[in-house]
Amino acid sequence: MNLRSSVDIITEWDIVAARQLGRNEAKDVGFGTVDQARITTAISELARNIYLYAGKGKIEIRQITDGNLKGLLVIASDKGPGIADVRKVMEDGYTTSGGLGAGLPGVKRLMDDFKIETVLGEGTTISASKLLR
């Protein structure tokens, strides 16, 4: 099973659309209210990062299975400037936007698995997943 859906992030309103899609998908998988809030919040942060730093990009949401476990994979991709120092953006409290986002460490804590691939001048892809336990 690999159901996917996605939202292009171009305006602020797309951030709302992405997180609503995420909440619906999380409900559909069977996540409880706390995990739904975690996933919705993580998507909102990732979509906002795209809007703030890359201008435009895409949030893709896939229902996944890992053995007997169902889950959700969120892929945030953009063709923005890329991240120069990945270690630095993963430090709590690091910001280049004056504190507009809680940053990636927060997203990592909300989800189970978190990966960044980034190439300067080419873009960034962040994958974050959560399994239903």
Partner: protein, 120 residues
């Protein structure tokens, strides 16, 4: 597409119940509307009820934190009520601390707390 959040006046307090998910523009215009209302009504306190809200991201948290500080500058106290368990959990995991914010379980407790704060 933008919606405005109603702000009610009860004696010398303003009461706001946020009933739906906040988008960025609604949150920002609420900030201005609340400060305008404080100015025109000379209210001394605000109860901001978030009972129906099922998630708060860092942007909404910042707007709420800012409006509380701004209200403070104008001499008004703000009490936040009705934060759901899922919202409390995600805000802390996200690393957001709404420090120095007065909170209460529900609207009724919030109004009582606000009245006590205003007496001090």
């Amino acid at each position: 597409m933008m919606t405005r959040i109603p702000i009610l006046k009860l004696r010398d307090c303003l009461i706001v119940s946020i009933q739906w998910e906040l988008d960025d523009q609604t949150a920002l215009s609420f900030q201005e509307d609340l400060l305008d209302k404080l100015h025109t009504t000379s209210a001394r306190g605000v109860v901001l009820d978030l009972t129906p809200i099922d998630f708060i991201d860092s942007f909404i948290a910042k707007v709420l934190g800012d409006v509380i500080s701004m209200s403070g500058l104008m001499g008004a106290k703000v009490v936040i009520t009705g934060i759901q368990p899922a919202v409390a959990i995600t805000l802390i995991e996200l690393g957001i601390r709404l420090e120095n914010v007065v909170t209460a379980l529900d609207l009724e407790n919030g109004l009582e707390k606000l009245e006590r704060e205003l007496e001090d």
